[in-house]
């Protein structure tokens, strides 16, 4: 009841092309996340799907039906905005019920649906309040509630957590994951935070400069990045990129190795280097090395390790987990 099909979507503002031909298929019930650096066109793409922006060319199909000329309210979608976008002069209840009321639903039905959504999000005590009287987290829950009430085919989230503080962000993330499981609805979610992307998504779409770089499950993107951009974007700290020539590899241009796939030793190993900075995070220890072979190298060790700046260490990569990228920056397999 909620599939989405995008075919060669293009969008230009004047001569500046923001989306350069996006093709994407989203199956019913999938949780798809658009991720990418700011300015990559992910929010614009979401707005095109919502109907808030007209695509310059291309087709948008929801449930197999072309909706490019359908106004947003009739597309069967609901959207949650980064800034919440609650109606300031309406109570929580009216905020959530406005869409249904506008469609001409009878009062009893509106009340029932609002009641169901508000108990789902534990908003019952706040129904009579105005948005100004709520905290940030509560406002975002109201915005999500407003989306649920419409029972859309497609939920669209535009960076819904970026205005929340860290603790609240984790809670709301859980709430959205739970919601997806219980509603079994199709959700499309835009974020620049890769942790949100990795934890929530069934499928991640990595966008860069108006184009799709790779589509895949979180683990696929982590273990089999298609190109240098995806490899560098997914995973934190970032993957180490080493000039292939320095490692004596004539075919590839760049070699990538994730910081967590390198082991350290004081006695001996492949690359000798000096510690230039250490970050102790409790669960992890992140070391920055300057090695003779590779230059700057980030290493992530699990657990607490005692290393000091200027210590001499040997780093050994796990050769099986190295990624080789060719001259076109695409992976070589």
């Amino acid at each position: 009841m909620g599939s989405l099909n995008l075919k060669s979507i293009r969008k230009a503002f004047g001569t500046h092309e923001v989306l350069k031909g996006i093709d994407l298929e989203v199956k019913d019930g999938e949780f798809v996340i658009f991720v990418g650096p700011s300015g990559c066109g992910k929010s614009t793409l979401l707005r095109v799907i919502a109907g808030l922006e007209d695509a310059t060319s291309g087709s948008v199909q929801i449930d197999g039906k072309e909706v490019i000329t359908t106004p947003p309210a009739k597309r069967g979608i609901a959207m949650v905005f980064q800034s919440y976008a609650l109606y300031p002069h309406l109570t929580v209840k009216d905020n959530m019920g406005l869409g249904l009321k506008q469609m001409g639903a009878p009062r009893a039905e509106v009340d029932a649906k609002v009641g169901k959504a508000s108990s789902m999000l534990s908003l019952d005590p706040y129904l009579a309040r105005r948005p100004a009287e709520l905290s940030g987290g509560q406002r975002q829950r109201v915005a999500i509630g407003r989306a649920i009430v419409r029972e859309p085919k497609l939920f669209l989230f535009d960076e819904p957590l970026s205005n929340l503080d860290a603790a609240l962000r984790v809670n709301t993330r859980l709430e959205i994951a739970r919601l997806h499981r219980s509603l079994k609805a199709t959700m499309i979610y835009v974020t620049h935070d890769q942790v949100e992307a990795m934890t929530l998504a069934d499928k991640i779409v990595v966008l860069n400069a108006g184009q799709i770089e790779q589509v895949g499950s979180p683990m696929e993107l982590y273990s089999k990045p298609a190109n240098v951009f995806v490899a560098g974007f997914i995973g934190s700290p970032q993957m180490n990129f080493i000039e292939a020539g320095r490692l004596g590899d004539g075919q590839a241009k760049t070699i990538g190795i994730r910081p967590e796939h390198i082991t350290l030793s004081r006695e001996g190993g492949d690359w000798k280097g000096k510690v230039i900075h250490v970050e102790h995070l409790g669960a992890d220890t992140i070391l920055y090395l300057e090695t003779e072979v590779t230059g700057l190298l980030t290493v992530r060790l699990f657990g607490e390790h005692r290393y000091d700046v200027d210590d001499v260490v040997y780093a050994t990569p796990d050769r099986a987990l190295m990624h080789r990228f060719g001259a076109d920056d695409r992976v070589q397999r």
């Binding site: 919502a50 106004p71 976008a85 609650l86 419409r150």
Partner: protein
Amino acid sequence: MSKARVSPLRSGFVHLVLAGYTVIALFPVLLTILNSFKDRNAIFRTPLAPPTASTFSLVGYETVLKQGDFVGYFQNSLIVTVVSIFFVLLFGAMAAFALSEYRFRGNTMMGLYLAIGIMIPIRLGTVAILQGMVAAGLVNTLTALILVYTAQGLPLAIFILSEFMRTVSDDLKNAGRIDGLSEYAIFFRLVLPLVRPAMATVAVFTMIPIWNDLWFPLILAPGEATKTVTLGSQVFIGQFVTNWNAVLSALSLAIFPVLVLYVIFSRQLIRGITAGAVK
């Protein structure tokens, strides 16, 4: 962090300047009201003195209320002012919404064209306006005044309101679109409530010149039935003899309605309901 301390000397000086300005601004008003309660001799002999038992007189007010239809004049002024403000706010807000919300060819040019009216006084077109009103058969009607004042107030209203409307969050309007609100509903139910403080500002700026105007009532609607207060007071000012008691009383009376309107609008200025709409 606490605010930087202001030296008492500095703040004293600021207060002195402000108090001085207040005195200068209020002095003529006070003088008008004081003298309106005195008899004619006292007005000229001791213009600055407050009315005493011997100089107190209501003769000015009696003249004003007896001579001519002063209640009618008030009514005319009120109708013209209120209806003009209503149209200026309605059309001004609509034009401002269109200019700030929609991208269309010539948007900037249209904005500039509408703003030119701020710089060119409408009185330059008096002759043409009068000819137009004669041709339309609108001379000596309140409609003529309302039309002219609406045109006069629109440029500033559009200028101020479009700036304010640009600050209303796009997400909010888009949320309305997804909820199925029409563009009109978005304008009336989402945007207008949020720019209410700006509307009040525009209303005050529009109201005062209209209420005080003598020029257009004199030219377009000098008939007895359509006289406004400012025009009505002129009957007491003659070329050789001026009935100062009556003039001062009429002016004192004319201050109050405008004061009431100002109080109504300024309450709106203070009320801000945007808080909590968007972070």
